[in-house]
């Protein structure tokens, strides 16, 4: 964790964005990716290259667990669309699931579900990834 300093009168603030990612084989050709943290501008900057490298080269059918993601903004939506597009070209697929209510509301506002499946749980996500 990197420290911030001198934002206001010498007060020290901590960087809070420590996006984390875990990848696991969920069986039946499904790759499960669990993300944790904030997918704001800084969070996307910290995770996008690693996430892309994990799923795109192998043309994965990837399900992404968002249950530990507290925040998404427009850059996160753009990131998911970009990865889904790259996966689609290789026969893969990206499915999101487990979004917290306020995160899900952002997806709904952007109509993300029109182009990237957004499912309530892992079972539904895996079924969508296989279809």
């Amino acid at each position: 964790m990197k420290k911030q300093s001198d934002v206001a009168g010498g007060c020290a603030w901590r960087w809070e964005n420590t996006m984390q990612m875990q990848v696991a084989d969920a069986g039946e050709g499904i790759l499960k990716v669990a993300l944790a943290g904030r997918l704001d501008t800084a969070g996307v900057a910290r995770i996008e290259t690693r996430l892309t490298a994990q799923v795109v080269p192998r043309g994965a059918r990837a399900i992404v667990d968002l249950s530990q993601v507290d925040f998404v903004g427009s850059l996160a939506i753009r990131m998911f669309i970009t990865i889904a597009r790259a996966l689609g070209r290789q026969g893969g697929k990206l499915v999101l699931y487990g979004a917290q209510p306020l995160v899900a509301q952002v997806f709904t506002t952007a109509s993300l579900h029109n182009i990237v499946p957004v499912q309530p749980d892992a079972a539904a996500a895996a079924a969508a990834a296989r279809s």
């Binding site: 952002v106 952007a110 182009i115």
Partner: protein, 147 residues
């Protein structure tokens, strides 16, 4: 936290991130509905990221200054964003249509801001600054929002 918070910072990614962290620390001291807090952070994120990415004249990146004022009222929250960057009236940008394919280019930021806000206003001030004001309901869902 005081009822008003002012943040001044250079329009760089590093100072944006520092100011964002400072905003969140300040909000920790306020009793705020979870949805209202999310919307404050979302609006800050979308507006300032846009200023930092597009606001600076090409040859003067280090001269981009940003001031954000957060005012907490009993029923509403007002965020005022001021910067000395290139003129940009966000009201002039239409919302993108709902995406129909993965070739969609994005542009969701202002859509999310409009959805969260109860009103937005923009002025190009006499001092050559953008001033963008976003008012949010303190209890989201209780107020008709702009679309």
């Amino acid at each position: 936290m005081q009822r008003t918070l002012e943040l001044r910072f250079l329009g760089t990614r590093e100072e944006f991130e520092q100011a964002y962290t400072q905003l969140r620390h300040a909000l920790d001291a306020v009793q705020l509905d979870a949805a209202a807090r999310y919307n404050v952070e979302l609006v800050f994120e979308e507006i300032v990221a846009n200023v930092v990415s597009h606001g600076a004249p090409a040859s003067h990146e280090s001269d981009l200054h940003v001031r954000v004022t957060l005012e907490l009222g009993l029923e509403s929250i007002r965020l005022t964003f001021e910067d000395n960057g290139v003129p940009f009236d966000p009201r002039a940008r239409p919302d993108p249509p709902p995406p129909q394919s993965l070739d969609h280019e994005g542009g969701f930021g202002l859509l999310l801001v409009r959805h969260a806000a109860s009103s937005i206003d923009y002025q190009r001030t006499g001092a050559g600054c953008n001033r963008f004001t976003v008012t949010l309901p303190r209890a989201p869902g209780s107020t008709n929002r702009i679309r």
